[in-house]
C-alpha cells in the first residue's frame, strides 16, 4: 500500500488523494515527508493528470496552515464574541450530548437543525442523516439546496434520476451560464475541450462574454434569470419545426400534447422580448442543439438559483428527453447506484424517521420540491427501477428549506429550532438573508460547529470541534451517486492534535445519546469495508489493487426498466407537482423588476478561481491571487456612474449592501452587475464584527421572503435582482494593505 501508514517515517511517500479543496473531487497525489504533507501534485495516470488546479496544489498550505483549528473550543464570552477556552474532546462531546438532550426534551427532536456539506466533509457517509433520523429530526439543510442538490431532486420528478452529462463524447454541449475554466471546475473544462477537439459544438447562454462564451460556436447573451423563458423558446422551435425524437416521445413520455399547448404560449417574439436575445439566434441555437448527433445540457449552478428554477430545471430535462439525448453516449447519462458500493442513501436510514416527524420538515408545506413530502412520492418507483426506496443523489433530495429553517430559528415559528449543528459549512454566509441567519443563530440554546478554520459561523458557536482534512483520512468517493465510479483517497498523514472526522463526531454523539447500536462501525475503515461488501473486498484489499474503478456503462436502461416516475415514463407534465398543487407544466415567472431607484440587474453566488465558496481567504498563496472582492460592471454603466477600475463602491439592494472594488469589463452585459460569492476577511478577526463577514458578503443582498422565492423549491432569485451602485469617496476603514492594493 502506497499510503503513509508510518507517518513518522523519514521517507518521502506518495499516496493517492481525492481533493476536497472544492467540490469537484479531482484525483491528485499527496507527497509526504517525515509524516508531514509536503505538497499536492497532479496524478500520474494520463487520463487524470490534467484534472488539477492551483487550489488543489495549494492543499498543503491549507492543511498545514497555522490558523487551523486543532483543539476543541468552548465559548466563554457572549455568543459571537470569539472568546474561547480549550477543552478536551471527551468533555466537549459529553457536554454537547447533555445540552442537546435538554433541548430535545424541552422542544422535541425537530428543534435540532443541521447544516452541512458533504462536499467539504467528504467522509460523513450520511452519518449525519442517520443520526438525525434516529433522533427524530427532519431539519437537514445544505448548500446543495442552491447548487446541484435541488437540481437532482427536480430532475427526479421528471424522469426519476439526475443524469450526468457525457461531455467528452458529445457532439453538442449547452452551457446555461456555466463557465468551467482551467482553475475552476477543471475536469468539466477538460471534458469540454476534449469534445471540442473532437468536433463538438458549444452553445453558451450567459449574460457575460464569459471564458466559455469567448470560444463558443454560439453565444446568447440573455438577461440574467431568464433561463426558463429561453428553454421554452427552444422547445417552441424544436416542437413546431418537428425536430424532436418522435419515437421517443411516443413511447416514453406523457403529457406531450399539454406541453405543446404551454410552449405555444411562448412564441419566439415573446421569448426574445423576455431574454433580450434576437429571435433568429434563439432559433438557430435550438436547431443546432436538436440536430446534433448527440447533445448534452450539463448541470449548471446558474439555473439552480432563479425564481423560475424548478421550471427551468424541468425544461432542461424535457429538452434532453424530447431530443432523444437521454442515457446515450454523448448525451445525459443515468448512472444509477453503483452495484459495488452501498450508497449513502441506504446508510442515511431514512426509513427510520416517522411520517409524523417527516411532515414537520421546515418549508415542506409551502416549498416541498426537495423535501421528504415531494421526494417520497417517488420512493416506490425509485425502488422499482434502482433497488432502493431513497435516492439521495448529491445529498440533495430530502432537505428542509434553508430560508424556512433560519426563519424558524429566529422566530420560533412554526415551532422553535433551538439547537443548530454546522459541519464543514460556513452557514452564516452560505444561504440568502444573512441578517436573518444571524438573528436565528443568536436565538439558539446550543450551536456546535465542526470546522478546520475559525469561520464567522463557528465564531457564533458554543462549541467548535476541529475537523480533519482529506489528506488525513481514508475514503472512497462515489461522486455522490451522480455518476458511476469509485476513487480511492488514502490517508497520507495523521490529523494534528485533536482533529477528527465528521464520521467520528456523529458516531461518538450517537453513543452518548443512547442509540450507539445504530452506529456499529468503530472507524471510517469499518464503514468503508461495509460499503465495499458487495465486492467481497475490504478497503485495504480494494485500495491495494486499484486507485479507481469505473462501472462499465449501460445505456438506454429505461427500455428495460421504465423511468422511476409514477407513470414509468418521462413526465413532461409532472404528476408529482400536480398532486402537490403546483402547475404541472413548466412556465416562466418574471423576477423582481428594476426601477429608477434600483436600475441594475445584480447576480450573485459567483465562484472565483482562487477560492471555494467562503473558504480559503486566510491561505496566503491563494489570497495573493485574489486579494479583494471585485464587482464587474460594463464600461457604459461605469462611465454613467463616474466609476473607474478599482474604485471602491457600495452595491445596495432593498435587503442589504456590500462594499467592494469595481472591475470595469467590456465582457459584462450592460445593465448587469456581477458580485462574487462568500467574501469575508480572516485578517480582521478581533477588529471587526465576525471577521468582517457583513462587509462584502453577497448573502446579505438577496431577499428570501416567500414571494421572492421559486414556488416549488423555495429557491431565491440570485440571478437578476434589482440593485444600485454608490461610489465611495474613501476606501472602507480597517482594510489591510493587501486588500487596498490588490
Amino acid at each position: 500500500m502506497a499510503s503513509a501508514e508510518s507517518s513518522k517515517s523519514s521517507e518521502k511517500k506518495l499516496s493517492y488523494s481525492v481533493c476536497t479543496i472544492c467540490d469537484i473531487g479531482c484525483q491528485l497525489r499527496a507527497e509526504t515527508e517525515n509524516g508531514k504533507l509536503k505538497r499536492m501534485i497532479a496524478h500520474d495516470n494520463p487520463a487524470l493528470a490534467r484534472n488539477v488546479c492551483y487550489k488543489g496544489t495549494a492543499a498543503a498550505h491549507v492543511h498545514n496552515h497555522a490558523d487551523r483549528l486543532t483543539k476543541p473550543l468552548k465559548r466563554v464570552g457572549e455568543r459571537g464574541a470569539d472568546e474561547w477556552e480549550e477543552i478536551s474532546y471527551q468533555q466537549a462531546m459529553d457536554e454537547i450530548a447533555e445540552r442537546l438532550q435538554k433541548v430535545v426534551d424541552q422542544y422535541g427532536p425537530e428543534s435540532m437543525a443541521v447544516s452541512t456539506s458533504g462536499w467539504n466533509t467528504q467522509s460523513t457517509h450520511s452519518m449525519d442523516r442517520r443520526f438525525m433520523n434516529a433522533l427524530g429530526t427532519p431539519n437537514y439543510i445544505s448548500g446543495v439546496s442552491l447548487c446541484a442538490g435541488n437540481t437532482a431532486a427536480v430532475n427526479k420528478m421528471t424522469y426519476g434520476w439526475f443524469p450526468f452529462a457525457d461531455m467528452a463524447n458529445s457532439k453538442c454541449i449547452v452551457l446555461f451560464g456555466h463557465n468551467p475554466r482551467k482553475h475552476s471546475w477543471t475536469p468539466i473544462f477538460n471534458m469540454i475541450n476534449a469534445a471540442r477537439a473532437n468536433g463538438a459544438k458549444v452553445i453558451v447562454l450567459d449574460p457575460r462574454v464569459s471564458d466559455q462564451a469567448e470560444v463558443a460556436d454560439l453565444h446568447l447573451s440573455l438577461r440574467s434569470g431568464t433561463d426558463a423563458a429561453m428553454c421554452l423558446g427552444w422547445l417552441n422551435v424544436i416542437i413546431n419545426e418537428e425536430l424532436y425524437d418522435k419515437a421517443f416521445v411516443a413511447d416514453y413520455t406523457v403529457g406531450f400534447a399539454e406541453l405543446c399547448e404551454r410552449v405555444n404560449e411562448y412564441p419566439l417574439e415573446r421569448v426574445a422580448e423576455i431574454t433580450g436575445v434576437d429571435a433568429e439566434l434563439i432559433a438557430e441555437s435550438a436547431r443546432m442543439y436538436a440536430a446534433a448527433e448527440s447533445a448534452c445540457i450539463p448541470w449548471t449552478p446558474i439555473t439552480d438559483m432563479q425564481i423560475s428554477s424548478t421550471s427551468a430545471i424541468r425544461l432542461q430535462s424535457i429538452l434532453r428527453a424530447l431530443t432523444g439525448n437521454i442515457d446515450i453516449p454523448g448525451g445525459d447519462v443515468f448512472g444509477g447506484f453503483d452495484p459495488n458500493y452501498i450508497p449513502e442513501s441506504k446508510l442515511g436510514n431514512h426509513e427510520m424517521l416517522s411520517q409524523e416527524q417527516k411532515a414537520k420538515q421546515l418549508g415542506s408545506d409551502i416549498h416541498p420540491a426537495y423535501t421528504y413530502r415531494a421526494q417520497e412520492m417517488l420512493s416506490e418507483h425509485t425502488e422499482r427501477v434502482y433497488g432502493y426506496a431513497y435516492a439521495d443523489i448529491v445529498m440533495g433530495c430530502y432537505m428542509a428549506n434553508p430560508s424556512a429553517t433560519f426563519r424558524a430559528m429566529a422566530t420560533e415559528k412554526p415551532y422553535p429550532v433551538k439547537a443548530f449543528f454546522v459541519l464543514g459549512n460556513n452557514a452564516l454566509m452560505s444561504y440568502p438573508n444573512q441578517h436573518q441567519i444571524l438573528k436565528g443563530m443568536m436565538n439558539q440554546e446550543l450551536i456546535v460547529a465542526h470546522e478546520i478554520f475559525m469561520t464567522p459561523t463557528a465564531m457564533l458557536a458554543d462549541y467548535v470541534l476541529p475537523g480533519d482534512v482529506f489528506s488525513e483520512r481514508n475514503h472512497i468517493s462515489d461522486y455522490w451517486n451522480w455518476k458511476l465510479g469509485m476513487t480511492v483517497s488514502q490517508k497520507a498523514v495523521e490529523p494534528p492534535a485533536e482533529c477528527s472526522s465528521t464520521f467520528e463526531f456523529w458516531h461518538d454523539l450517537a453513543h452518548r445519546m443512547g442509540f450507539g447500536n445504530l452506529f456499529p462501525w468503530e472507524t471510517i475503515e469499518d464503514v468503508l469495508d461495509y460499503r465495499l461488501s458487495p465486492t467481497g473486498k475490504t478497503f485495504e484489499e480494494f485500495s491495494n489493487e486499484n486507485y479507481m474503478y469505473i462501472q462499465p456503462p449501460e445505456y438506454r436502461k429505461y427500455r428495460k426498466t421504465g423511468f422511476a416516475t409514477p407513470s414509468g415514463k418521462v413526465e413532461l407534465k409532472s404528476s408529482v407537482l400536480e398532486e402537490l398543487g403546483f402547475d404541472p407544466l413548466p412556465y416562466y415567472r418574471e423576477g423582481p423588476a428594476i426601477s429608477e431607484e434600483y436600475p441594475y440587474y445584480v447576480f450573485t453566488g459567483v465562484r472565483e478561481d482562487a477560492f471555494f465558496q467562503t473558504g480559503q481567504r486566510q491561505v496566503k498563496v491563494l489570497r495573493d491571487r485574489m486579494p479583494s472582492p471585485k464587482l464587474f460592471m460594463h464600461p457604459v454603466d461605469a462611465e454613467r456612474q463616474g466609476i473607474v477600475d478599482h474604485d471602491w463602491v457600495k452595491l445596495q439592494t432593498e435587503t442589504g449592501e456590500v462594499t467592494a472594488k469595481v472591475l470595469v469589463q467590456a465582457s459584462m452585459k450592460q445593465g448587469h452587475i456581477r458580485v462574487p460569492h462568500g467574501w469575508w476577511y480572516p485578517e480582521m478577526r478581533g477588529s471587526a464584527k465576525l471577521a468582517g463577514s457583513f462587509i462584502s458578503s453577497d448573502a446579505v443582498l438577496c431577499p428570501d421572503d416567500p414571494e421572492h422565492l421559486d414556488y416549488e423549491q423555495g429557491i431565491p432569485h440570485f440571478k437578476g435582482f434589482p440593485g444600485r451602485i454608490v461610489k465611495l469617496a474613501e476606501p472602507p476603514a480597517g482594510m489591510s494593505e493587501q486588500v487596498l492594493a490588490g
Partner: protein, 66 residues
C-alpha cells in the same frame, strides 16, 4: 432491439471504460501496461504548468495581518 449504430457506440464506450480500468491498477500486469501505453498515446504529453506552482514558503505563514 439495438440498432447497429447504437450497439457500436455503446460497445465503444464499454471498451474504453475497460481499458481505463486496466490503467487504474496499482500492480499492473502485461495487458494493463499495454492499456496504459495506449492511453498515453491518446492523451499525449502533459507539459508542466507553472500556474500550478506556489512560491515555496513556510506553510505556517498566515494571511493574518497582511
Amino acid at each position: 432491439m439495438l440498432k447497429f449504430r447504437e450497439w457500436r457506440g455503446d460497445a465503444q464506450q464499454r471498451l474504453m471504460t475497460n481499458i481505463a480500468n486496466r490503467t487504474f491498477k496499482k500492480k499492473p500486469g502485461f495487458i494493463d501496461r499495454l492499456a496504459m501505453r495506449f492511453l498515453k498515446r491518446m492523451t499525449g504529453d502533459l507539459p508542466h504548468d507553472p500556474e500550478l506552482d506556489h512560491p515555496e514558503r513556510d506553510h505556517r505563514e498566515s494571511a493574518s495581518g497582511q
